[in-house]
Symmetry: C2
Subunit: 148 residues, 2 copies
DNA sequence: GTCTTTGCAAATCATTTGCATGGAA
DNA sequence: TTCCATGCAAATGATTTGCAAAGAC
């Protein structure tokens, strides 16, 4: 998918960053994943293509890309490990299964009016929010359903 | 405030935990704080009363109390450090100033209906959610207000 | 007295940093 | 050629664990 790659190339250059194979691969990996990933997970995925890849490169790249708003540090913390995802173009939230830990995005967000009302009552200038919803996904519900 | 202490005493016993001075002190410290605290912060506060207190006791106690739902691990992560707070009796969320990092609780929560609708569209059994709202508090807005 | 909790020290895990080399512009 | 980016190894910082002593019931 070289179109996608060219978009990343442009975005990197726009932000004064050099285009490297590692950065392109990291962006592609994050983009292909449907859930946020830890540095370690990214490392394992990229290592297939980069025999000499270093974990610290992953950390540094994530840090750089977060600073340039190309990647977002997720609210989620998988037991002390930071998780990362592409900065979503559209505002959305994550729905997390508490059993299998699968994460799916949900588009609908009801918080605009809520933010307005908080701004009014507290005097804060609201800049945004983070929301996660927890539950049990249909598959896990079936697996653990008590017999009747 | 021995009334409060007796409530903690009961709660610990109910859950099959022994009542120790460290646990009571930790609960009191968390309860007195108006913002979530890190293990380190708790350690520094308790050390005043316990010369020989160990950081690992803090971690272990927090872990135990989280398991028993007496303490909650906050969504917030102050740069990699976990934060803890008393499990709120009433459902509420945190409003966080992005400048001074002050955290204030907000009671009002509009997500009940939202959870219902997600449950309907996704088939998940929703168990809860975490929400943080970010903004700039009135004081910080004044401090940084550009002159006109 | 028994079993849990604590303190201390050492271990572990995620993340960061220093420095020399390699690579993009 | 000029820096920025990378790899490697070592350092750091938060959290966890093993073990023996102290404390709660």
């Amino acid at each position: 998918m070289p179109e996608q790659e060219n978009r990343y190339r442009e975005k990197l250059l726009e932000r004064g960053l050099k285009v490297t194979r590692q950065r392109l691969a990291l962006l592609a990996a994050l983009n292909q994943s449907d859930t946020p990933l830890t540095a370690e997970e990214l490392f394992m995925r990229l290592r297939k293509d980069f025999a000499t890849l270093s974990l610290s490169t992953i950390y540094r790249t994530l840090d750089t890309l977060c600073g340039k708003q190309m990647v977002a540090r997720s609210v989620l913390m998988d037991g002390g490990r930071a998780m990362f995802e592409m900065t979503p173009e559209v505002h959305c939230h994550n729905l997390i299964c508490t059993v299998c830990h699968r994460i799916v995005p949900i588009q609908d967000c009801p918080l605009g009016a809520y933010e307005d009302s908080i701004a009014r009552t507290t005097g804060y200038k609201i800049s945004g929010h983070k929301l996660e919803v927890y539950g049990i996904c249909p598959q896990c519900r079936n697996n653990f359903k008590p017999r009747e």
